[in-house]
Amino acid sequence: MSAPLLEARGLVKSFGDNHVLRGIDVTVQSGSVTCLIGPSGSGKTTVLRSLNGLEMPESGTVRIGDVQLDCANRPDTRAIARLRDQSGMVFQAHNLFPHMTVLDNVTSGPVFAQGRPRAEAREEARALLSRVGLADKADAFPVQLSGGQQQRVGIARALATRPQVVLFDEPTSALDPELVGEVLQVMQSLAAEGWTMVVVTHEMRFARQVADQVLFLDGGVVVEQGPPSEVLVEPREARTRQFLQRLLDPL
């Protein structure tokens, strides 16, 4: 097996007395899908946000491709930006730019940040919008879209910068239940195309069907990891079993 595309080692972070990450390792192979699951407060979102420097751990290293960041060295803005450029991100609350059209949202990274020619970026953005089933919404504004459509634009925007990895932070948690499917379907097809994805999610069916590996986090550590057929079907750890049990039977 070739060297993994993404490696995080020994991530440690606390907010005040709250130790959110207590030494977390994540390894992601190119073209694979990794799902981070766990109860709220387990640190899974903080891990994800550490992979692109939106959070800065007190110690640990993050490497994507050939860009490495040593968190303990208090990296400067430029070093963080170099790591961040390796990935794209889809947010729970989509965070689309409300004053721009759908098309301008998707081209914002290529044009404003990467300085690519506008015509070329627009052409590519239209292709991405077709890809997520929104070719006819290019000139709409985000407020005119449903939650599921907004999130699919968010996915197109994240892909537009041609990242090596796409990070998803609970992409369906803020959606009405009937809109979850359209977003998960797009993500599933991206996985089939070979995109490398790291997904924080509570959608266990998605994790089982799409993930190559699942990491169960609790209390700031990785309690258990492996293929979904092991972690989600035959968990070894009691804490994993409890968590899955609560999801299946909330009452």
Partner: protein, 222 residues
């Protein structure tokens, strides 16, 4: 004798209107544009994490807001010559009004920038934008919408504050009304006409504010 001399109203319309067009409106426009640019700069300085940058901005806002505009105009025009700095009436007026707008508007701009959700900064950074690009392309356009009501307040106050600059020998609407009233002794008539002029200008601006707010809000959820 009636309190209002209608012939004088008619004959003073143009002399007063001319000073509105030559004095009050250009003073307002120039000071507002310069003041707004200053306000954005000061707001960004105040938001800086570096105290060496934020402290001077804080001091400036505190001094300008904490002293009367009339006194600031006196200092610029009559006080600075003691240090060998002599400034003509018009530049003095523009400087005084600009500094004032800059201080008041910077608070509105700062509040508006802070009101743009954090997620907008994060989204811009994850598509690769740096701080300056994020401000220009994502944050300031949204902050502008949020700041319109309070900036409109500042603009409308400014229209009326220009009446103070006659103390530094700039002729504008109020000064002209004083001059004619001094010659005719028809104080109520002249000051009444001047008041109506100010009011009409502010009515037009309020109307413009409403239009602008509607226009800028069209892409924002109700």
């Amino acid at each position: 004798m009636s309190a209002i001399d209608w012939d004088l109203v008619r004959s003073s319309l143009w002399p007063l209107g001319r000073e509105l067009l030559r004095g009050t409106l250009p003073l307002t426009a120039v000071s507002f544009v310069l003041g707004l640019a200053l306000a954005v700069l000061v707001a960004l300085m105040r938001l800086s994490g570096n105290r060496l940058v934020s402290a001077p901005a804080r001091f400036y806002v505190s001094v300008i807001r904490g002293t009367p505009l009339l006194l600031q105009l006196f200092i610029i025009f009559f006080g600075l010559p003691s240090f060998g700095i002599t400034i003509d009436p018009w530049p003095s007026a523009i400087i005084g009004l600009t500094l004032n707008v800059g201080a008041y508007a910077s608070e509105a701009v700062r509040g508006a920038i802070l009101a743009v959700p954090r997620g907008q900064w994060e989204a811009a950074m994850t598509v690769g934008m740096g701080r300056a690009t994020t401000l220009r392309r994502v944050v300031l356009p949204q902050a502008a919408r949020i700041a319109v009501p309070s900036l409109s307040n500042t603009l409308i106050s400014l229209v009326k504050d220009t009446s103070l600059v006659s103390v530094v020998l700039v002729t504008e609407l109020l000064r002209q009304a004083q001059v004619i009233a001094g010659q005719t002794f028809e104080y109520f008539t002249l000051y009444g006409v001047a008041a109506v002029y100010y009011w009409v200008v502010c009515l037009v601006l309020s109307f413009g504010q409403t239009r602008l707010e509607t226009r800028l809000s069209r892409h924002v959820a109700a």
